[in-house]
């Protein structure tokens, strides 16, 4: 286990210190975007399309403009005058800001009403008259590729059908050959449906343009304010928005989970509106607007897993159809249109794999953003973990045993996966065994046998996943060309207190505490003496933001290395103060001392004070450092999750009896925060496994676009999570840390699905797609009884 190097008062790594950011939230003093109120501020409300696919014949603003307090109705035609009616997506597709002639999905923004008050703006939106000519929508992605399917994106030069791109990795011929010759091959089409992150704070913006200073101040619910600033400067440079004049402030963010990475049309319209009107404009999404715009997942995966008759895995093949809606706005690195999907070979040692994907346009909202994992690891893990369980069922082997026999062994790291990743570290066997011990696996197997003998439905499901986070090495990973490094800037004040700023942005992860702990670990300055700031592009160093569990792997590493630069400077100062040569100085947390004479020492605070007051001759004054960290590799957190369920055959109701989660996220900065992240991620794992999924009818209408019917788990549905850890430090991260926040969302759904399907297996049920609801279970039971 990890041994703390610092005292609890200093609060370095490994201490569960209480969070520094809590007080303002507990007292109602958090400042979220909707809390921003500027003098003369106007409010914006969107008019949205009731149709999934329609031509706009006319937009009549008159009745809206006649309402006292309505100042403007902005349409696509208005934006087209400035060439702002389209914008690029993060994957270099194009997305409408506001349409000029066609709407491509239900609830797409049609025009925006600006008024003095949000109620009047809503009145204005009601009063706008839009004349639509509805067309037949393409809802089923498989039908998008039909020969007679209408071409959804004729605006794109050279686009002849609704196919967006083909992607593949691995040796197709060899993989197919191994599969053809294998003793056992299990196959399944697995669908991971559209879901929405539904952070409790929706998205929003307050944009304020000052015509005198030409400064554009934007309060934004953004997880990546610097990247968004650059994108804005690139997109709106032609109308005079220059990057140094744009200041984006991401204030407190009420949950992100990746849903606050993209640029949404409402942001751009509000920014355009303040630019034209010269007054601050606020736009805050309603929940029902939020839920039907942007989505995660929606992969249809045809999987084949081949093995010997005793269960040695030999090859995996997966062919995927991805439904991207009307534009590819996936929040993925530009060279990785399918994110890290090629991690789909999982935690197992075998040579042959092939993954391919075709992406298509449909008349649905664009997205491919995130749900606590945007880089498609969830899809990949679900595919392999379901298939491994299917293999175990097929050959009649215990799924834990099958996994143990196929795991990549501890001494095989760094491990080159068949699809090209270099897994940095792990001990999969120890992690699964720890989970089995914590659960009492054998006891539950026995209980299951007894219950089955009585005709009761009980299931045990395992998921042993490998994550891939921390993008990234900048040679491979960029967003719109911007390399995915991250940054830390530390200023230690003369009295030994510090301010540190980062290119990331917390949305609840607790950066104000954990970054301070990293600096406390490295410098020995108590964490309570260190202020952390993020989210203001005028003050924070450039970085790519917080998503994909990348903050600790990138900015956390930057903090450690910047602190080490300071420690090197401090050593020179200490040598000067102690009148010895630098080689004679040693460091222990918080102080420098003379080797062999530990009583001759200077605390970090004394050294810092000297950096401002008694500077060694020739040395640059001050005690500040900056580091931009470009990781040499990604990190590969992993875990073993086991779920026990009981199912009521009469109703299909699923009762999660136990859920044990063992995570290996490397060295841990704050165990309390890591455990909290795991709890939250697990609830966002059970959510898509059993409750959530955006449903469409044949005409492209969203059937569950509010919290009335899009079922976010409450405390009642969320089980009492049981958590634990194994630790294999990342060998290339300066702190040995790996990142954790996404792991549980990635790992939990297959454990739950596997448990439910295991429970139903005596009835002959071999697969169900998530969300596995009671009605789906009941239907399956009825179908198999016949």
């Amino acid at each position: 286990m990890f041994k703390c190097k610092t005292s609890p008062e200093v609060g370095g790594m490994g201490h569960s210190v209480k969070r520094k950011e809590d007080a303002r939230f507990l007292h109602g003093k958090g400042k979220y975007t909707d809390d921003v109120k500027l003098p003369g501020m106007l409010h914006m409300v969107m008019v949205r399309s009731p149709y999934a696919y329609a031509r706009i014949k006319n937009i009549n603003k008159e009745k809206a403009l006649a309402i006292d307090g309505v100042l403007a109705v902005i349409t696509g035609e208005d934006l087209a005058q400035y060439n702002l009616h389209w914008m690029p997506t993060l994957l270099s597709d194009t997305q409408m800001v506001l349409p000029t002639d066609t709407v491509m999905h239900q609830s797409q923004e049609v025009c925006a009403v600006i008024a003095t008050d949000r109620y009047i703006a809503a009145d204005g939106a009601e009063a706008v008259e839009v004349d639509y000519e509805p067309m037949d929508a393409i809802v089923d992605p498989y039908k998008a590729l039909d020969k007679d399917a209408p071409l959804l994106r004729p605006d794109k030069e050279g686009q002849k059908d609704n196919h967006i791109y083909h992607w593949e990795r691995g040796d197709k011929a060899k993989t197919e050959e191994v599969i053809a010759k294998a003793d056992v091959v299990v196959k399944e089409r697995i669908h991971l449906p559209r879901i929405h992150v539904a952070s409790i704070e929706t998205c929003g913006v307050v944009a304020s343009y000052d015509k005198d200073t030409e400064k554009m101040l934007i309060y934004l619910t953004s997880q990546a304010p610097h990247a968004i600033r650059t994108v804005l400067a690139l997109v709106a440079g032609h109308v005079g928005l220059s990057e140094e004049k744009i200041r984006i402030i991401s204030p407190d963010i009420g949950g992100g989970f990746g849903g606050k990475v993209p640029v949404y049309p409402g942001y751009v319209v509000a920014i355009a509106a303040t630019f034209l009107i010269g007054k601050p404009v606020k736009w805050i999404e309603d929940r029902s607007e939020n839920l039907v715009n942007g989505f995660a997942r929606d992969y249809h995966m045809d999987c084949e897993l081949a093995a010997t008759k005793d269960g040695k895995i030999q090859a995996f093949k997966v062919s995927t159809l991805a439904d991207h809606g009307y534009t590819d706005s996936s929040a993925n690195p530009s060279k990785y249109p399918t994110g890290m999907f090629s991690i789909c070979t999982g935690s197992y040692d075998y040579q042959h794999a092939f993954a391919e994907l075709d992406a298509v346009y449909t008349n649905k909202a664009p997205g491919g953003v995130a749900y606590r994992c945007s880089f498609r690891v969830t899809e990949a893990v679900h595919a392999i973990e379901r298939m491994v369980d299917k293999l175990a069922a097929e050959i009649g082997k215990d799924p834990a045993q099958l996994r143990l026999e196929n795991f990549i062994k501890k001494d095989q790291f760094p491990y080159s996966s068949p699809l090209g990743w270099s897994y940095d570290s792990g001990d999969y066997e120890a992690t699964l065994k720890k989970a089995m011990d914590m659960l009492g696996y054998e006891k539950y197997k026995k209980e299951q046998a007894e219950k089955r003998a009585q005709g009761k439905l009980m299931g045990i499901g395992i998921s042993t996943f490998t994550e891939v986070v921390g993008a990234g090495p900048s040679k491979d990973f960029d967003i719109l060309g911007i390399a995915m490094f991250d940054s830390a800037e530390i200023r230690v004040h003369p009295t030994g207190k510090a301010l540190a700023r980062f290119g990331t942005k917390s949305q609840g992860q607790g950066h104000e505490t954990t970054y301070a702990q990293i600096l406390a670990e490295e410098l020995g300055i108590p964490y309570s003496d260190i202020e952390i700031e993020e989210g203001d592009t005028d003050t924070a160093p450039y970085g790519l933001g917080t998503y994909a569990s990348r903050s600790t792997p990138t900015a956390g590493a930057a903090a450690a290395i910047a602190a080490r630069k300071l420690r090197d400077k401090g050593k020179k100062i200490a040598a000067y103060l102690l009148e010895v040569s630098e080689e004679d100085i040693d460091w222990e947390v918080g102080k420098y001392f003379v080797k062999g004479a530990p009583e001759k020492s200077k605390t970090i605070q004394e050294v810092v004070f000297a950096a401002y007051t008694n500077i060694p001759p020739g040395m640059e004054p001050g005690f500040e450092a900056t580091h931009y960290y470009d990781p040499p590799n990604l990190t590969f957190p992993n875990g073993a999750y086991i779920c026990v369920v009981e199912i009521d055959e009469e109703t299909g109701a699923i009762d999660v009896k136990r859920f044990v989660a063992i995570d290996d996220c490397g060295n841990i900065i704050n165990p309390m925060i890591v455990e909290g992240q795991v709890h939250g991620g697990l609830t966002q794992g059970i959510a898509p496994a059993m409750y959530e999924g955006i449903q469409y009818d044949d005409e492209g209408n969203v059937l569950n676009g509010t919290f009335m019917d899009y079922l976010v788990p409450t405390a009642v549905e969320s089980p009492h999570w049981e958590t634990g850890h194994t630790i294999t430090p990342s060998p290339h991260h300066p702190l040995g840390a790996k990142g954790v926040a996404e792991s549980p969302t990635v790992g939990a759904p297959p454990a739950i699905a596997n448990a439910i399907i295991d429970a139903l297996s005596p009835l002959g049920i071999k697969h169900l797609d998530i969300p596995i609801t009671p009605s789906k279970v009941w239907d399956a039971i009825q179908a198999h009884k016949k």
Partner: protein, 162 residues
Amino acid sequence: MAKHTISMTINGQPVTAEVDSRLLLVHFIRENLSLTGTHIGCDTSNCGACTILLDGKSIKSCTYLAVRADGAEITTIEGVAAEGTNHPLQQGFHDQHGLHCGFCTPGMIMRSIDLLNNNPNPTEEEIRWGISGNLCRCTGYNNIVKAIQQAAEEMQKKETTV
């Protein structure tokens, strides 16, 4: 739009204002009174981010007209403890890491005050059902349950010492 003069007590302070018939209480609190600790997270009264106490009972202020609160005594998160101090629930949420992004937290705490007023020593299951009208997307609820349990113990200790 008809205007109405309403008076109420908010966090111990008397307030009188002229409001539109349709103004929601949550907007009155947030916009007119600038008490932005009460949040809005949905439009169907499912999420509970807007929960406040009205005459001692927790209500969702997003589905309550401001005019209907005429004459009421209202407490928001800003009024549960004296400046610089913590209500036992605020302390519990801090100690047990019962909050991440903090957006649901004020509503959770307001709901929990009512819960503990009515059931000073709830079981875990009673707590889970008791806060099931409030959504949290970050914490997975384990630590919120622990926070409420800590507060319940603390408040009972105070009861017995008084």
